[in-house]
């Protein structure tokens, strides 16, 4: 029965390969890719419930029992993220159908979209450090192609920076793996955790932990985010939304996995993460307020939320983990919606600076009100999805007395609100400057994915009760790494 665990990764890969051969048949490609992501989401939802009832799932490839083989481990935290990623990417696909030109679509857009989803899901599910590296690379190679597909000048320039940064990050990742293998002789994450607990986390292991911290910070955009605003604002809207929703989450997931399972014995690292998170939030706010380009502002908002989610890791209590799990799901959905809205505004007006746009809400009321709703959700206003995550992370901060983190993370919410309000007031309010004739028609096809994401945001806020048992599972798993280790290594190796 556990074999089902491999589906969220293998389905997109297989269908992606098939789609390569179906290049001329765009409609077939669209249908198949949408079906694939939806099927993956369904599998993830089923697995999530299964984990809730029966505990963590594990799949040993080729029946090589751990620690010898490679394996997939599905715990609630990973499965929640897989579910979020698949659901959001299905909706982004709907947007891509409407907005991506035939030219791009026939250049293998959908296969690479699916490979990216496969890489993301694989990274969430793997229980083996080297497998994590491989899944990262699958995801990154697909993202390189999606970023540069179309070949505009900015895309190529930002693509070059993005590829080089990620090659360097991968280099450091391998460095960390090499040292870890030299010291401990294993790459299975649960086994590493057991060995680290046995030998104690000496200076050498702390050094390796910091190498991994650097690697995943680069991927997540924690402090080392300088590449992010450029490369997230260069590609077409659907791709930018996919990046904003998924790519940094993988880095965040890896950070959570590393520092709740393996390197948990040295409290200094949590202090470092806390400081990094604070600097990230402050710098992200400054960036979001400094720019007047809508896409830049939206990209800087990604950075702020990365800092916010990682305050949860710095606090490291069960409550904070609950908040972080909840906030990660919320962030996937709301960032996707924010990127799609920003892209839609740029498409409708042909301009990207908010002070050159005015009065959009008269011509396109749906876009205007959805933007308003997203803004409230991201800032954490109660009926919407951001609120509960923020409250739990805040509660965790109060429990442990980390008031600086608390203050900065909640003040960053004001930064978010201010930066988005500036867009809202300038470009949606005021006199319209588009004449009736120049007005671009707003197609229903664009509206549908936007509305679906908005429904998810509201549903996540109101239906938090429904999701809470799974969130609770995820937080318990993160707070008590023994659960994960026991699920992988069996009872005798605790």
């Amino acid at each position: 029965m556990n074999n089902i665990l491999v589906l969220p990764m293998i389905l997109p890969v297989l269908v992606g390969v098939i789609l390569v051969f179906l290049r001329p048949y765009i409609r077939v490609q669209r249908m198949l890719s949408l079906l694939t992501t939806m099927a993956s989401a369904a599998v993830a939802a089923y697995c999530l419930h299964h984990i809730h009832l029966n505990g963590i799932m594990r799949l040993d490839f080729g029946d090589w029992l751990p620690p010898h083989g490679i394996l997939f481990v599905g715990d609630s935290f990973a499965m929640l993220l897989v579910l979020g990623a698949c659901a959001v990417s299905s909706i982004i696909l709907l947007y891509a159908f409407a907005m991506t030109g035939i030219e791009t679509e026939s250049m293998f857009f959908y296969p690479f979209f699916l490979f990216l989803v496969a890489g993301v899901n694989g990274s969430f599910l793997t229980g083996d450090l080297f497998n994590l590296f491989v899944c990262f690379e699958v995801m990154l190679l697909a993202s390189y192609v999606l970023l540069t597909l179309g070949g505009r000048k900015t895309q190529l320039k930002e693509g070059m920076t993005y590829v080089l940064i990620n090659v360097l990050a991968s280099w450091f990742f391998l460095l960390g793996i090499a040292y870890l293998y030299g010291v401990l002789g294993t790459l299975n994450m649960a086994h590493i955790a057991v060995r680290v607990a046995e030998t104690g986390q000496g200076p050498l292991l702390t050094l390796i932990a910091i190498i991994f911290l650097i690697v995943f910070s680069l991927k997540a955009g924690l402090l080392l985010y300088f590449w992010l605003p450029g490369s997230y604002s260069a590609p077409p809207t659907a791709v930018a939304a996919l990046f904003g929703a998924l790519l940094t989450k993988v880095g965040i997931y890896a950070l959570y996995r590393m520092f709740t399972l393996i390197f948990i014995h040295d409290p200094v690292i949590y202090k470092i993460i806390g400081v990094l998170a604070i600097v990230t939030m402050v710098a992200g706010c400054l960036g979001a307020i400094a720019y007047s380009d809508i896409r830049q502002i939206v990209s800087y908002n990604v950075i702020i939320s990365v800092g916010f989610v990682l305050t949860g890791l710095a606090i490291a209590t069960n409550t904070a983990y609950q908040g972080a799990s909840y906030y990660l799901i919320h962030d996937m959905i709301s960032k996707a919606l924010l990127f799609l809205l920003a892209g839609t505004v740029v498409y409708l007006t042909g301009r990207s600076k908010f002070n050159e746009i005015s009065g959009l809400i008269r011509n396109y009321p749906l876009v205007g009100w959805l933007f308003f709703l997203t803004m409230l959700a991201i800032a954490g206003i109660p009926p919407f999805s951001g609120f509960i995550g923020k409250i739990y992370i805040g509660l965790g901060a109060i429990e442990t007395g980390s008031y600086v983190l608390l203050a900065v993370s909640f003040l960053s919410g004001i930064g978010v609100l201010y930066s988005l309000l500036r867009i809202f007031l300038n470009s949606f309010w005021g006199e319209t400057i588009i004449s009736e004739d120049d007005q671009k028609p707003f197609q229903k096809k664009i509206g549908l994915p936007l509305v679906l994401l908005a429904v998810l945001i509201i549903g996540l806020g109101i239906g938090a009760e429904l999701l809470s048992p799974y969130i609770q599972d995820a937080a318990d798993g993160l707070a008590d790494p023994k659960q994960y280790i026991r699920a992988v290594m069996g009872d005798d190796l605790e």
Partner: protein, 110 residues
């Protein structure tokens, strides 16, 4: 033997970083390729180089070489090959688009 390879890794890293810091696109790409070779050698060294026999003869073999690092390197080589190929194509496109001397410099207002 380990010492020798470690020194070689150091030299390769130095060469790779030097190339990465230059302005020419092609040199940068060569730099990434050399860096990845350095890290592959490091992976091999960390697994232990000479342990007396081939990987896993029988279940009771007293001496055998660890096969895992080699499997890891094989995968890593494939990946770095793919990335290098992509980078070369990308730099060619940049060259086409930007004309002579594509440079990775910032814009005026940055």
């Amino acid at each position: 033997m380990e010492t020798l390879i470690t020194l070689l890794v150091g030299v390769l890293v130095a060469v790779g970083v030097y190339l990465l810091l230059s302005k020419e696109m092609l040199r940068i790409i060569l730099g990434t390729a050399i860096l990845s070779h350095a890290i592959h050698l490091l992976l091999l060294t960390m697994g232990g180089l000479k342990k007396g026999d081939v990987p896993l003869l029988t279940e009771t073999a007293a001496e055998y070489t660890d096969a895992l690092p080699q499997a890891l390197i094989l995968t890593a080589i494939v990946i770095s090959f793919a990335v290098t190929a992509f980078l070369l194509v990308l730099s060619y496109r940049v060259y086409q688009e930007a004309g002579r001397g594509p440079r990775l410099r910032g814009r005026q207002d940055e």
